[in-house]
Amino acid sequence: MKVFIDKGGTPSTLRETLDAALETGQARSLLVLSCDGNDFTPERLDPILKEVPVPIFGGTFPVVLSGGRQMSRGSVVVAMNHEAEVHYIPGMSDLEADYEAILDEKVGGDDEFKTVMVFVDGFSQRIAAFIDALYAIFGLEVNYVGGGAGSLSLKQKPCLITNDGLMQDGAILAALDMESGVGVSHGWATVSGPYKVTESERNVIKSLDWRPAFDVYRSVVEAHSGTHFVSRPFFDIAKAYPFGIAKMGSELVVRDPVAIDGDQNLVCVGEVPEGAFVDILHGKPDDLIRAAGRALERAKTNLSSHAEPGLGLFVDCVSRALFLGDEFFAELDAVSLPGLEFVGACTIGEIANSGKDYLEFYNKTSVVAFLEGE
């Protein structure tokens, strides 16, 4: 595996970088992590992507990570020496879509993959249903790693990189016969709860314990933080107070409230099912940074002893970066290992499974994956 950096962030510089990756002659598939700041559009990028002769997959993200650096412009191209079986699934907000049936038809039953890299449009409405379908088809002996692509503007736009061009409201998955080790951790802790989600619609929480969700959330957060929502933008405060959904023998699954809609409902990244119990969480920067380090350790532990890591992939939630601010560098430092190159992205939700847990769509979580080298 070899990493190529495009610092220009234009279609032409990306084309040059892709060509460079292909010229090595060892690139059997290409992973592309591009910055949302490149402002790529299908009109400009599709002709380039359609010419790529090998499977290509990836997305555009608020921040791209490369060797401990944050990039807001440019792209990281990874020439992978494993050929990926790539599938693009459209209609990630289609309420009628049966993703299990779609994947069942697309994915061969006899193929033995070890790692599935998944990128979804982070602002799609049915990510949870797709994740469930993904798990139903690929099964439990596969490591999953990936996350939500998109823009910090919170507006849905074409953000998935495929051989057919830049796509919106879909998911791209790349199945690889490649060992990996995955670690997941977040470091957020409960400050209040549990609260029962009495009314919700996919990623929108309407009421908690039969009271308006925002009223409950505001009273807890304002009391804990000492700040008031009227004085600051919602996400400035909310980024430090996500929700947590419990699951047995594991860390809470975090849901990130990113906005309030016109009816004063809380809009999250990822679904919050009606009937679930949620805690209101808070995190200290040190705890979060330590958690990222834990994710690294777990990834290392989970990589098969006979596999040599060729690349580290760090998928970290963009709202962690926003929350940590300048301290985000410390988190990047925590996810580093001498002699191993790391690339990654700050995502709109994270997808991970180490082979020991039920596959989840996380928020505000650090995911580290060690990808097997040659």
């Binding site: 299990e100 069942d104 039953g109 033995e112 469930d132 798990y135 139903a136 088809i137 690929f138 099964g139 439990l140 002996e141 549990p194 419990a246 699951k247 047995m248 023998g249 594991s250 099912p273 009937g275 679930a276 119990f277 082979g355 020991k356 847990d357 039920y358 989840e360």
Partner: protein, 541 residues
């Protein structure tokens, strides 16, 4: 795990189970929540099935992930599920649940879903604690009940679908039936009707008919008493068949319908409503009326014919008898004068000879006319059924002997020989002695009439339970194209009057009617000698 967290998770699992009656959808939500909340890697629901011998096995009906058999923990767990268990073995197996095992860092749990089957869970080590496992019992009970409900619902839905299919079929019959089909109250409002019923009454749709007719008695029946009679019959007999009434259509025109209906009663026997069929019989009814009128006209004409024949009998035959009688007397006197040698001048003698010849013509034609009138009267009586028959046991030997004696004279001055081949032991027949003689005489006289020379053979033979009498001649024969019409009235052999021997053309039709009255048949066929063979067959006693 802390108890309150467990309760919280289990509550969420419980809330996710049974939210749909669709088996797949229910488990997609319920089992995925079950696995997610317990952080299990895999799970499967197995249904207990019984084979023909009553032995129980467990079949996987749902699994998450769908493709999980490659996993050794799953394979190991599924291997522990026994098959073909009798009742005792099943009881022992279920009593031993939950089964807990482990391999390669995975733990598996096989638990009972009471009344449905088994639940398999795969979780990474260290797995579930004993209290966690025990706490799952009520969840499994709920999951089992939800599974049973879904299966029952599937069965119910299948039955409903089947029933709907059948209903659809009957509805199609109802909608497409040519006859009107209806359901009405006893008070006279329509409950249901098919398109044909609407059409019958001149409405565009059943809905319009039902809305437009609120009282059948006054709006549909031309005579209210017909409606009352119809209901009375239904109440007394429970049904009415082919009940014909005049009815009003929507546009006020009147037609006829035939209705067959039955009275529907409740369990206590109280009348509920009427259901049945109706058919427009207006064209048929009009045809019957026309037929009745035609029959009356025919009867009137028949009466006229009878009167005419009576007139013929009295007004023609009586003067004819006088004419014929006086002509014969005149001829006799002239014969005496001419044969007596009376001295008359020659021109007087010549004139008397001519008068004698002319009187002979009057006698001959008069006799022919008498025969014609008699035949017309006979045929008329035969056809109208007014002929007086004297049916008795008749000896056919006697009939044939009489016939031969009566016609012997016809052969006297001809070159035609009369041959008889009649056995002496012919059986008796039930018949009219004189009429049977009339038939045989007619056939014999016809034969000699149409035979210039040769022979006429009378024969009789018993065939089965019939006596067949044949008259075969060596005469001119019957052309094939006249065979079919020779027994019709006023048809006679030959095309021209000049060629035709004298006759009325009614002899054979009369024979046909007489033979028919005796339950027999008459026919003609070519004879071997080139002439014709007339035969009739009548049943023997």
């Amino acid at each position: 795990m802390k108890s309150f967290v467990r309760e919280r998770l289990y509550y969420e699992i419980a809330m996710s189970i049974g939210n749909s009656l669709d088996f797949g959808e229910m488990l997609r939500e319920g089992l995925s929540t079950y696995l997610r909340k317990l952080n299990c890697l895999a799970g499967a629901v197995l249904e207990r099935v019984e084979d023909e011998d009553g032995l129980s096995s467990f079949e996987q009906v749902y699994a998450i992930p769908k493709r999980m058999k490659r996993n050794s923990a799953v394979s190991t767990a599924l291997e522990q599920v026994p098959g073909s268990l009798d009742a005792g073995q099943l009881q022992v197996f279920l009593a031993g649940l939950p089964v807990v095992g482990g391999t390669n860092g995975y733990k598996h749990y096989l638990m009972e879903l009471p009344g449905f089957g088994l639940l398999l869970l795969i979780k990474s080590a260290p797995g579930l604690s004993r209290p966690d496992l025990k706490s799952l019992t009520p969840l499994n009970l709920k999951l089992a009940e939800a599974c049973r409900s879904c299966i029952a619902n599937e069965r119910l839905q299948s039955e409903i679908a089947e029933r709907e299919k059948v209903e659809e079929k009957y509805k199609a019959i109802f909608d497409n039936a040519v006859e009107g089909i209806f359901q009405s109250t006893l008070e006279g409002s329509l409950i249901a009707a098919n398109p044909s019923m609407a059409k019958l009454f001149g409405y565009d749709s059943p809905e319009e008919l039902i809305a437009g007719v609120s009282d059948l008695g006054t709006q549909v029946y031309v005579r209210l008493e017909d409606r009352e009679r119809f209901l009375r019959r239904l109440k007394n007999k429970g049904k009415a068949s082919g009940f014909e009434v005049e009815y009003y259509r929507k546009d006020g025109t009147v037609g006829w319908l035939s209705s067959s209906a039955r009275l529907i009663r409740d369990e206590e026997g109280n009348p509920l409503h009427v259901e049945g069929m109706a058919e427009d019989i207006t064209p048929r009814k009009q045809a019957v009326i026309a037929l009745r009128e035609a029959k009356q006209e025919a009867e009137r004409l028949s009466q006229m014919k009878s009167n005419f024949l009576s007139m013929v009998s009295h007004e023609l035959r009586t003067p004819l008898t006088s004419i014929l009688g006086f002509a014969k007397i005149t001829r006799k006197r002239l014969g005496q004068i001419l044969d007596g040698g009376s001295k008359c001048p020659d021109d007087v003698s010549r004139r008397l000879d001519r008068i004698n010849d002319n009187t002979g013509v009057i006698v001959t034609e008069g006799e022919r006319l008498t025969e014609l009138i008699n035949n017309v009267l006979d045929l008329s009586k035969l056809e109208s059924g007014h002929f007086e028959w004297h049916m008795e046991d008749v000896s056919m030997n006697d009939v044939l002997a009489h016939s031969l004696a009566a016609t012997e004279v016809l052969f006297a001055d001809t070159k035609v020989a009369l041959v008889q081949k009649v056995p002496q032991d012919l059986p008796l027949v039930g018949g009219d002695h004189d009429r049977l003689i009339q038939v045989v005489i007619n056939l014999l006289s016809n034969a000699v009439k149409f035979t210039a020379e040769g022979s006429v053979v009378l024969s009789a033979v018993v065939k089965g339970d019939e006596l067949v009498v044949r008259v075969e001649d060596s005469g001119i024969g019957v052309p094939p194209d006249e065979v079919d019409v020779i027994f019709d009235k006023f048809r006679q052999l030959g095309d021209t009057l000049t060629d035709k021997p004298k006759g009325t053309g009614l002899g054979l039709p009369i024979c046909k009617e007489i033979v028919k009255h005796h339950g027999g048949s008459i026919w003609v066929e070519p004879s071997k000698s080139g002439g014709s063979l007339f035969a009739f067959a009548i049943p023997v006693k």
